[in-house]
Amino acid sequence: MKLRKTVAACTLAFAGLAGLSAPAQAQFSGDVIRIGIITDMSSVYADIDGPGGVEAVRMAIADMGGAINGKKIEVLSADHQNKPDVAATKAREWFDTQGLDMLIGGTNSGVNLAMAKVAAEKKRPFMVVGAATSALTNDQCTPYTLHWAYDTTALAKGTGAAVVKQGGKSWYFLTADYAFGHQLQADTTKVVEANGGKVVGSVRAPLNASDFSSFLLQAQGSKAQILGLANAGGDTINSIKAANEFGITKSMKLAGLLVFINDIHSLGLKTTQGMYLTDSWYWNQSQETRAWSRRFFEKMKRMPSSLQAADYSAATQYLAAVKATGTDDPEKVLAHLKKAKFNDIFMKGGYVRADGRVIHDMYLMQVKSPDKSTEPWDYYEVKQVFKGEEAWTTKADSKCPLWK
């Protein structure tokens, strides 16, 4: 009896000591740091983010050494198939059963709006890379959403203003019929009208429509000067191709409001030369970006898009914050991120604004003509740099309660 009591007492004492001497273990939930990325892996937006985005996150983890304070870093990935309910369910499952610490949002604005709600409910950081809608930091802002790469306001202020200043005063929109398309059309309309232009009409096409000839014919009938393409990915490619085929380009100029380097690669420089586009990053900007891009090319056999570079940046900055605070506790890491300055291959001097918008430079670029391109994927010429807060929503236009 006495022996048992002694053993019990000793065990309790040891347990107490063990608990006291192991604060580090308790700081990392589940003893592992888990990053999740939910994006379009197989459909219309798969090339601009997709598996390449997951690879970029893996590169960030590898560059961090694969572990922080002895805790392994893991990445989970899933295909949302452009369905908000699939994404929300997956995000919820990961937060509840897989101990997910941070979620990266891939393409599709509608999907990201749904995931933002889940992340806010679960009180975990949600870094949006692929989605465009400015609503994520405006009327739908949350303390947990960080909008990393680009948004519809920046695209409108970039390409929209540039085209109007060039003389494109009357516009007709071909819009993808979901959250992203509507928001992009709305933001661009504001910019066009502010610069003295006029929107004469628009047509909404279902996402992933294979044939745009009918919509383009309606656009041509409007007699506008500019055809604004408020769509992305495969939709933009098919629209541009059909516009050339039907001779629309003879009477109207095309303004691709969201264009990625993969789209240019698919269409070729002959079809797209001279087109203006606004983007957050270009692989051929500097020595640093070139070096990183070639590493990406080794693995994926194509140059990274700005979204894939942003995936790398988001993961890197998150892991840096985890390292600095010594924990993956969401409140502490978010507090650190909101005070930090970001310097990596994606941006210099970036920071998080009160509404969750990550502020960095944006670039107005023009597609080169075939004779000026020196190597495959050498497609852009930087025409204008929008520094700091220039490209983003202003306080006057913001309805976010966090930014007053």
Binding site: A46, P206, A209, S210, S214, I237, E245, F246, G268
Partner: protein, 295 residues
């Protein structure tokens, strides 16, 4: 300017023309599907994937060996037809006599595999395939500018559809095929090699899908997703026309192309679902389809 339903007559005729072009595609694809179902009782979900493989075959032949469009029109269907024969021999043959659900699952699985392979290799942004020289340019019809290539597509589709219909309904070979599907044992007793006919029919259906793919390549980007985008609509077309009726699928394909075209003008947001709404209505009123035979 005169107006019909609130839009100018120019625009109206333009949309009608475009609807016919799209309808021609639907007609050709649903033809292959109807042939396979009507004669073989197989719900061929791999049809969209075979269409995509046909387009890719044309692109690869041009990219790697410089084989042009006109040769591709002949070679791609032959290649995919052979693939179809292989599929029939190795997989489908084992499912005859079983619940049609097995055939559906098998062909669906095959389509996922084919799509996955091409997506892995080529990504989804697509490859450009340029319109052949002879068909480049456009004609001003007065009410719209019609690319010559699209006019060629309508012509080719009509010729192929009529040719296939004539082959099945008016020739001896067609008669054997039709008899073979009704009563295979009896026809075999007469000395006709029914398994060989079935195999070749599936191959021919696959070849038709590939031909549609080659015709489509210069119009839309050649991507691994092009088949799956189209196949659901084509199935709806075949169901509305009456599964097994070849004339039904052709007429319905053209008709639905035109209806879809008009929806794009009057209520574009609904243009991707209008075909299914019509399918629901037809199935309620005439379950066998518009041209199908009640069994």
């Amino acid at each position: 300017m005169t107006e019909i339903f609130g839009i100018p007559i120019q625009a109206f005729l333009g949309q009608l023309m475009l609807g016919l072009v799209n309808g021609a595609f639907y007609a050709m694809l649903s033809l292959g599907l109807a042939v396979i179902f009507g004669l073989l009782d197989i719900v061929n979900f791999a049809h969209g994937a075979l269409y995509m493989v046909g387009a890719f075959a044309a692109w690869i032949m041009l990219d790697k060996w410089g084989i042009g469009y006109w040769w591709s029109l002949l070679l791609a269907p032959l290649m995919v037809g052979t693939l179809g024969v292989l599929i029939e021999r190795s997989f489908l043959k084992r499912l005859y006599g079983l619940d049609p659900l097995y055939g559906l699952l098998l062909t669906f699985g095959l389509s996922l595999i084919l799509e996955g392979i091409f997506r892995d290799q080529y990504g989804v942004s697509g490859q450009s395939y340029s319109v052949p020289e002879e068909l480049a340019g456009a004609t001003n019809l007065g009410f719209m500018i019609l690319p010559n290539y699209r006019a060629w597509v309508v012509l080719a589709s009509v010729v192929v559809c009529l040719g296939t219909w004539w082959l099945i309904e008016r020739t001896r070979l067609g008669a054997y095929l039709r008899a073979g599907t009704e009563n295979a044992k009896l026809v075999q007793a007469f000395g006709v090699n029914v398994p060989m006919m079935v195999m070749l029919t599936y191959g021919a259906g696959a070849a038709l899908a590939a031909l549609a793919g080659v015709l489509a390549a210069p119009v839309i980007q050649v991507t691994p997703l092009m088949g799956s985008n189209l196949i659901i609509v084509v199935f709806a077309v075949v169901v509305i026309g009456g599964m097994g009726s070849i004339l039904g699928s052709v007429v319905t394909g053209l008709g639905l192309g035109v209806i879809e075209g008009f929806t794009r003008v009057f209520y574009p947001e609904a243009s991707s679902i209008v075909v299914f709404v019509i399918m629901a209505i037809v199935l309620v009123l005439r379950p066998a389809g518009l041209f199908g035979k009640e069994t």
